[in-house]
């Protein structure tokens, strides 16, 4: 089987005047279809930079990136925009929803920029379906500021899903969420992954990384560890545990 993502000796150097920051230095990585990868590492180790390269938002300074057999380095700005639109779904660290725009209109956005025209009726239908997948169909007409952080994150996930991407990229999707909502979001990811979507996400939290199938550790712009996850956490099970714990706490409290 051909890998969906193939990074060959990727470098990314930021130049700020005299100072050069080597954010990524020599990453070679292969991700197969259906994988569920967590990238971990300390702050400033180059995780977001790597994700931006994977998401075709940024270009590597050096190295080759094949996305679904296509070499992205030769593509120009608008061709990469089409790749982002069609093959990739990106969930940003800070949600990045359009303010004062309803959840469903936010989810429709990628279809408005689709190279293949989507009729408005189909647009609405697909957006609602995506919201349903993340369990937010009943909040379609809510504005972002009327939604909780976890709900906003789920709208962002629905938006990333709506064009049926091959890969879902998420930069710290649970960074701003409490543990319960984090488990919820990981539940959504696990279900999507079970349906065959390849997922790559960044996280700081070890227990969150444990929901994935493969963990990468990045240090100083290099992948220093790459291992499969054993005994991975299953969101349904963890949810059950959480519920029991809460019930117990309540019992103790009321006793």
């Amino acid at each position: 089987m051909k890998p969906v993502v193939l990074l060959e000796d990727i470098y990314k150097t930021y130049t700020n005047g005299e100072v050069q920051v080597h954010a990524v230095r020599g990453v070679t990585l292969q991700i197969e279809s259906g994988e569920f990868v967590a990238i971990m590492g300390s702050s400033g180790s180059g995780k977001s930079t790597l994700m931006n390269i994977l998401g075709c938002l940024d270009r590597p300074t050096k190295g080759r990136y094949l996305l679904d057999q296509v070499d992205t380095s030769g593509l120009e700005r608008n061709e990469r925009a089409d790749l982002r639109n069609q093959k990739l779904g990106f969930v940003f660290q800070g949600f990045n929803l359009l303010a004062r725009t309803t959840a469903v209109e936010n989810v429709e956005l990628p279809m408005l920029y689709s190279p293949i025209r989507v009729p408005p009726a189909e647009m609405r239908e697909r957006a609602m379906k995506a919201l349903d997948i993340v369990g937010l169909a009943d909040r379609a007409d809510h504005l972002p500021n009327q939604l909780s952080g976890g709900q906003q994150q789920r709208v962002a996930i629905a938006r990333a899903l709506v064009n049926h991407p091959q890969i879902l990229l998420a930069d710290e999707p649970t960074g701003n969420l409490d543990s319960r909502t984090s488990v919820e979001v990981m539940g959504v990811f696990q279900r999507l992954n079970d349906q065959g979507i390849t997922i790559v996400m960044v996280t700081h939290e070890l227990d969150i990384a444990h929901y994935c199938k493969r963990n990468l550790i990045v240090r100083d712009g290099k992948v220093v560890r790459d291992e499969a996850v054993r005994d991975r956490s299953i969101s349904a099970v963890e949810m059950e545990k959480l519920r029991n714990a809460e019930a117990a706490a309540k019992l103790i409290h009321s006793a």
Binding site: N52, G55, L57, D58, R77, N78, A81, D82, R84, N85, Q86, F90, F92, N96, L97, L98, A99, R100, T101, E105, L109, P110, L112, Y113, S114, R117, P120, R159, N163
Partner: protein, 402 residues
């Protein structure tokens, strides 16, 4: 290009910022309204000047007496008293393409009727005078060539004189006393209002030229001769022929008359009002440009303010031209909206001016069409730079923007 999708996007973006959208459009609204109102007022003034000029009559050539020269002492224009009724008759007889000729005698007199009296201008004219001045009778008839030949004591009077002397009933058939002679009133003229110089054209009694010369003014010369030409094209030739004819009738003497063409006056007057319209239009046009700069300014601010939004769009797959088109469409919708609202406001303001101040106002379709298309054009021109700037942002830089 994804025009439909982009239009949806632009409309949604405008809807999200209603207040800003309205404020942005305000500059154009005021600019367009100013253009419409100013041009309407200017056009109103122009058309009232034109109608006043038309009321002086069409294709009229006037012969005035020239300066006198008595033993080397030269008087000013009009000081000579050399125009005669024979001159008028000669012109009528010999110059081709003349429709009507009227030898004019003017005199101020105290006139009496019904035990009332009134100081007015008594004018001696030929029957062709009404045609020359494009003047019509309200009631009654004009006197005739026969009256002219017989120095008949007949008159037609203006509205003002009728109002002041005949407070009850129709003056036609009644008698008016001029220099204590009874003149029979044949007709009353339609009101013509005030002329350029502010004098009341309806404050007049008109009698045949011969009657005026012999019975009223008691003089042998004319104040002027009015000639109506067949067509505007014929005027230069007729003017020349009149000059030659009168010159010939005076033998070798120094010319003591002056032939003036009414179009000269008309041209000067319309030129003035045209200048005024242009000036008002220019001032208003400047405010329209200021409105356009306002759009550009707010669009530029909004590009900065919406950097994150643009970043999100680019990250999600918008092409640079999608973003450019979005901002262009936004600017165009705003300026078109401003244009339409401005037209309504401008027409409203024009109406208000005409009702409140009584100024003549004329809203021209031309200025409406022009103002709306200029505002759309301004939207494109002034929207382009911000739109281009937005489209050139780098997606991650834009997303990182705080």
């Amino acid at each position: 290009m994804r025009i439909t999708a982009t239009s949806i996007i632009a409309l949604r973006a405008l809807r999200r910022n209603k207040l800003r959208s309205i404020l942005t459009a305000l500059g154009i609204i005021i600019g367009v309204a100013a253009v419409i109102a100013m041009v309407s007022i200017g056009n109103g003034a122009k058309s009232s000047v034109e109608s006043q000029i038309a009321s002086l009559g069409q294709n009229v050539i006037t012969v005035f007496p020239g300066s006198s020269n008595m033993g080397g002492m030269r008087g000013g224009w009009g000081s000579s008293s050399s125009l005669t009724i024979e001159d008028a008759q000669a012109i009528e007889r010999e110059v081709m393409g003349v429709v009507a000729v009227s030898g004019e005698v003017r005199d101020r007199q105290q006139v009496l009727a019904n035990g009332l009296n009134w100081n007015t201008t008594v004018m001696g004219e030929s029957p062709g005078y009404l045609s020359i001045r494009a003047w019509e009778l309200e009631t009654g008839t004009m006197f005739t060539e026969a009256d002219e030949r017989s120095t008949a004591k007949v008159a037609i009077i203006g509205r003002t004189v009728a109002n002041n002397l005949y407070t009850d009933g129709d003056p036609v058939g009644q008698t008016i006393r001029i220099r204590n002679l009874p003149f029979k009133i044949l007709g009353v003229l339609k009101p013509k209002g005030f002329n350029f110089f502010g004098s009341d054209q309806d404050d007049v009694v008109i009698v045949p030229t011969t009657s005026a010369m012999r019975r009223v003014a008691r003089r042998t010369n004319l104040s002027s001769i009015l000639i109506q030409a067949q067509s505007p094209d014929a005027m230069p030739r007729i003017q020349q022929e009149i000059t030659d004819l009168l010159q010939q009738r005076r033998g070798g003497r120094e010319p003591d008359f002056n032939v003036r063409n009414q179009m000269e006056l008309a041209e000067a007057a319309t030129a003035t009002s045209k200048t005024m319209t242009a000036l008002l239009g220019a001032i208003a046009g400047i405010s329209l440009i200021v409105g356009g700069i306002g759009i550009m300014n707010i669009m530029l601010v909004s590009v900065t303010e919406r950097t994150r939004e643009i970043g999100i769009r680019l990250a999600i797959g918008a092409h640079d031209r999608d973003v450019r088109l979005q901002f262009l469409i936004e600017a165009m919708i705003l300026s078109l909206l401003g244009g339409v609202l401005g037209v309504l406001l401008g027409i409203g303001a024009s109406e208000l001016v005409s009702v409140q101040l009584g100024w003549p106002v004329l809203v021209s379709t031309m200025s409406v069409v022009l103002a709306v298309s200029v505002s759309a054009f301004i939207g494109v021109v002034f929207g382009f730079y911000p739109a281009h700037k937005a489209s050139q942002l780098d997606p991650i830089d834009a997303l990182r923007f705080e």
